[in-house]
């Protein structure tokens, strides 16, 4: 399956991209996705091991199972207001 990954602010600058697509085995969790991203090396390797993540606009835990077509966003510490 494939999920869309969004990156923002410091994460975006770290990897030099605002989005990417990750191919994952069926049943993969957020944790598996993050490991796949970090395995890409370069700036990707410097992403946090357990960043905050949103799946389809909702905050989600690292054990959340992903589905094909999900939009997964890595959320750096927020600073609105």
């Amino acid at each position: 399956m494939r999920v869309k990954v969004l990156l923002f602010a410091a994460h975006r600058e770290l990897v030099g991209q605002a989005d990417t697509v990750a191919a994952l085995p069926e049943g993969a969790t957020v944790e598996v996705l993050i490991a796949e991203l970090k395995a890409r090396g370069g700036g990707w390797a410097r992403l946090p091991v357990r960043p905050a993540v949103a799946v389809n606009h909702k905050y989600a835990g690292s054990d959340t199972m992903l589905e094909d077509g999900d939009e997964v966003a890595l959320i750096p510490p927020v600073a609105g207001g």
């Binding site: 905050a52 606009h57 909702k58 905050y59 835990g61 927020v78 600073a79 609105g80």
Partner: protein, 148 residues
């Protein structure tokens, strides 16, 4: 009516205030956040707000609904701006009206505190000396909403 938005357009706080109010309301509270010209003593020239806009809209609507429930009032209006802001420009405006003042104050305060805790928005501060940094933010430690 509960109203919320995340926008790149300039915010007029008076217009946000006008979105609340009802004949049974005796009090309205408005909070306005602005970009200030210094942070921890360091001169600031401007601020860039980056946001995960679709999610921020959902989150802001949820925060407004929670505030409305707490204030026992459906008169809550909140808007957060994204993009490049100059000193003094409004980044966020929150209005709540209610029969009584305590609830209006409390709900307005709730909205700004929750925004800072969990709205997926990031600030890049541009200092007058030319440096720019992403401001240290809060880990979004809201209850995890979706584990399926």
């Amino acid at each position: 009516m509960i109203w919320s938005d995340v926008t790149t357009d300039p915010i007029d706080p008076g217009t946000v205030l006008k979105r609340v109010g009802a004949p049974g309301d005796g009090a309205a509270a408005l909070f306005v956040g602005m970009v200030r010209n210094s942070n921890e003593g360091r001169p600031v020239g401007g601020m860039e707000y980056e946001g995960y806009r679709d999610m921020a809209r959902d989150q802001l609507a949820a925060i407004a609904a929670e505030a409305a429930q707490q204030a026992d009032s459906d008169r809550v209006a909140v808007v957060h701006r994204l993009g490049e802001l100059a000193i003094g420009e409004v980044s966020v405006a929150i209005a709540v009206s209610s029969p009584h003042r305590a609830e209006a104050f409390r709900a307005a305060r709730y909205v700004i505190e929750e925004i800072k805790k969990r709205l997926p928005i990031w600030k890049r501060e541009r200092y007058l000396d030319g440096e720019e940094v992403w401001l240290e933010g809060h880990l979004p430690v809201t209850g995890i909403e979706g584990t399926r």
